[in-house]
């Protein structure tokens, strides 16, 4: 894959870029006739163009323009984050593309080439059965969706961001951009300026959505940044599980993915948000995810990051109401030339709130994984608890892992515990497994899967199967 090394402007970082990694399942692209194209680069014109194509209300255009100003005025966070961010060329990115088609209602109406895309992504057969329940984003807009019909009988609103803000502003406007303010960080500001696609969900009081709502996101056009926006509101006592999976074709130039996901769990509500992603290894994946949990509400992020050139993502929960619970369970795998900079934020803002963070990272070859955790419990609160565990596994001697936990617990009526470990797959372990007949790659895969096994078992069945497959693919190229 020589074309990749040409585009990396920090060649000292990787001597042997992604040697032998088989990502061929994602390595294809189709000619798609893009009806709407905002061109490359980002100016006020781009933002106005996006807003007008989407026929947005004036307040939303103002929101976008304000965000653009913030984005342009904010520096890159390179005082703490990697300088690799400086290699993003914002002028070369396409900020909006759509096929100008409305979301499809039934599988039969989905164009054949898009179906073929799903096919080639290797979505398992049993999962295709569930495709009727998939909100699949093809490039900027949702290309397929009919689960809405099923859940709408329960009063659930499940729409893409454009449709939701246009047709249900009375519900979504109140929370939109409130959990993650526009100026939260430079990439949240960027998303706020140019977002398109993504899912907006409202679950009415007491409604428990039985089946997980799903979405597949991928990037399909060269140099095309994807900026989806997700907002999930669970009204009092309701429950929902949302799952997103990402696979992307491989490109010869860098691609930017910068999403914003906001969750609101009102009193007694439960939201579980599951991500399994496998970005191509030239993608900058800079995502802001945060939820607010009100009294006795529960928000759980299950986040699995594989692939990408650089991922920066720290799902957070603001524990706003008494007895609210927050949880982040994350798995990161960094292969050659990849940097997984992930973690969690738990902001305790009420008594008797509890949070749990379990993070496992795997560094392969010259891959690098970084854990950043923030736990904040102020002095005036009582009965708050936090548990943080982060374990790192190094596959090769030149792999790298760093841990930056920041735990601020004030007052004497709160409890916190923190455990961290770093382990290495030893030559003796691999020999032991090979002696039973497994190839070196199979032995690596099995030991990595074993390392994350207790977390992977929390994923829904079809996702843990996919996760295992992704790890097998990643490990195939990591030996020899």
């Amino acid at each position: 894959m020589p074309e990749i090394s040409e585009t990396l402007e920090t060649p000292d970082f990787i001597e042997n870029p992604v040697a032998g990694i088989d990502q061929s399942r994602g390595d294809f692209t189709y000619d798609v006739d893009y009806e709407f194209d905002a061109g490359t680069g980002l100016t006020e014109q781009t933002v106005r163009y996006i807003s007008s194509v989407k026929k947005e209300a004036d307040w939303l255009l103002e929101f976008r323009l304000n965000a653009l100003k913030k984005f342009q005025s904010m520096p890159l966070p390179t005082h703490w984050a990697t300088k690799d961010l400086e290699n993003i060329n914002f002028d070369k990115i396409r900020y909006y593309l759509a096929q100008g088609q409305k979301p499809k209602r039934t599988w039969d109406e989905v164009p054949d080439d898009i179906k073929e895309t799903f096919e080639r992504l290797g979505i398992p057969e049993q999962e295709r059965k569930f495709l009727a329940g998939v909100e699949a984003q093809f490039d900027s807009e949702a290309a397929y969706s009919n689960i809405k019909d099923i859940v709408s009988k329960q009063g659930v609103i499940f729409a893409n961001s454009t449709e939701a803000l246009r047709e249900h502003p009375e519900i979504f406007r109140k929370f939109f951009g409130k959990v993650i303010p526009t100026g939260d960080n430079k990439f949240a500001a960027l998303n706020s300026a140019v977002f398109s696609g993504g899912s907006f969900i409202y679950v009415p009081p007491g409604v428990k959505v039985a089946q997980p709502l799903q979405a597949y996101f991928r990037i399909n056009a060269e140099n095309f940044g994807q900026f989806e926006r997700t907002l999930i509101i669970c009204d009092e006592g309701s429950e929902v599980t949302y799952m997103e999976g990402c696979t992307a074709p491989k490109f010869s130039t860098s691609t930017l993915h910068s999403a914003v996901v906001e969750l609101v769990a009102l009193k007694g509500a439960k939201i579980q948000y599951i991500t399994v992603q496998n970005w191509a290894n030239n993608v900058f994946n800079l995502v802001t995810k945060r939820g607010v949990a009100h009294e006795e509400a529960e928000i759980k992020w299950i986040d699995c990051n594989i692939g990408s050139r650089l991922t920066m993502k720290y799902p957070g929960v603001v524990l706003k109401g008494r007895k609210a619970r927050g949880e982040v369970i994350s798995i990161a795998l960094a292969n050659d030339g990849q940097h997984q900079d992930t973690g969690a934020k738990m902001i305790h803002a009420a008594d008797e709130t509890t949070s749990n963070v379990i993070s496992k990272s795997i560094s392969v070859g010259q891959g690098r994984s970084t854990y950043r955790g923030l736990v904040h419990i102020p002095k005036h609160l009582k009965g708050c608890k936090n548990n943080t565990e982060c374990d790192a596994l190094l596959i090769n001697t030149n792999s790298r892992t760093d841990t930056y936990p920041a735990i601020t617990v004030r007052g004497d009526k709160n409890a916190t515990q923190h455990e961290a470990s770093v382990s290495k797959v030893s030559e003796d372990l691999i020999f032991y497994m090979q002696q039973r007949g497994l190839t070196e790659a199979q032995a690596m895969s099995l030991s990595v899967n074993g390392f994350i096994n207790d977390l992977a078992s929390q994923f829904p069945m079809e996702y843990s199967v996919e996760l295992k497959r992704l790890i097998d693919l990643e490990m195939e190229g990591s030996v020899g």
Partner: protein, 251 residues
């Protein structure tokens, strides 16, 4: 009928020569015991035949049914029918015994062949029962938190499931109490037959009361210095290794 021929084998770790001219032929149906004092190269021999990357074979050859195995990867040697029962088995966190053995059994099947899960579990449970391993162990991580005796029984379980042509058993008796020794020995004896041969490495005659060998070899300074039948082990037990050393010195 299979044959494992070890021909004038020389093994080094780095620059250090450990095994110097070891020769032995194992036929299916035979059990050979290799005894000898510490540091004489017994474990080195077993690991090198299995293909451990830390051990370099500087001279000689190992043939399985006439074919040299020295260019083969450790997993290829394993699939060809060579099993090493480890003296210190590794722990594999998060990987259950059932899944590990399943992967190992699957690795021996041809392209496109599917493992019959029901049959696999039936076989696994019956082997576990005869080795007195609690069936709950199937979901426990391989060797993690196991006692010394449990680890050794787990090695024998794997051997029974994988049905190798030849087993190299590296101090399988160490760390076993009398009951566990009996159970492990019964497991090995159950495998004896015309399709199975073994090379048992041990310090003590005790094991050979339970698994009666066809041949006994004394290893010293990296090679076999004396061979005989099971009575040699008794003689060795009575006279100690100094007897062999002195005999060598006077020869």
């Amino acid at each position: 009928m299979s044959k494992l021929e070890i021909k004038d084998l020389h093994i080094a770790i780095g620059e250090k020569k450990i095994v110097r001219g070891f020769s032995l032929t194992l036929n299916s149906g035979e059990i050979h015991a290799v005894m000898g004092p510490n540091g004489t190269g017994k474990s080195t021999l077993a690991k090198a035949i299995a293909g451990h990357p830390d051990y370099s074979i500087t001279d000689g050859d190992v043939l399985l049914d006439g074919q040299s195995i020295l260019a083969m990867e450790p997993d290829e040697r394993a699939r060809a029918g060579i099993f090493l029962a480890f003296q210190y088995p590794s722990e594999i966190p998060g990987v259950s015994i059932a899944n590990f053995l399943r992967a190992a059994v699957q690795a021996r099947m041809g392209e496109g062949e599917e493992l019959d899960a029901t049959g696999y579990y039936k076989r696994l449970y019956s082997k576990m029962d005869s080795l007195k391993i609690d069936r709950k162990f199937t979901s426990r991580s391989v060797n993690e938190g196991f006692s010394g005796g449990e680890k050794k029984r787990c090695e024998i379980l794997q051997m029974a499931m994988l049905e190798p042509k030849f087993a190299l058993m590296d101090e399988t008796d160490s760390g076993l109490d009398i009951d566990a020794l009996r159970i492990v020995s019964e497991g090995v004896n159950a495998m004896r037959g015309e399709n199975f041969g073994a090379l048992m490495i041990t310090h003590y005659q005790r094991l050979l009361d339970y698994i009666v060998p066809d041949y006994v070899h004394v290893m010293y300074d990296g090679r076999i210095v004396k061979s005989g039948d099971k009575s040699l082990a008794l003689e060795l037990e009575a006279k100690g290794y100094d007897w062999v050393k002195n005999e060598l010195a006077s020869a």
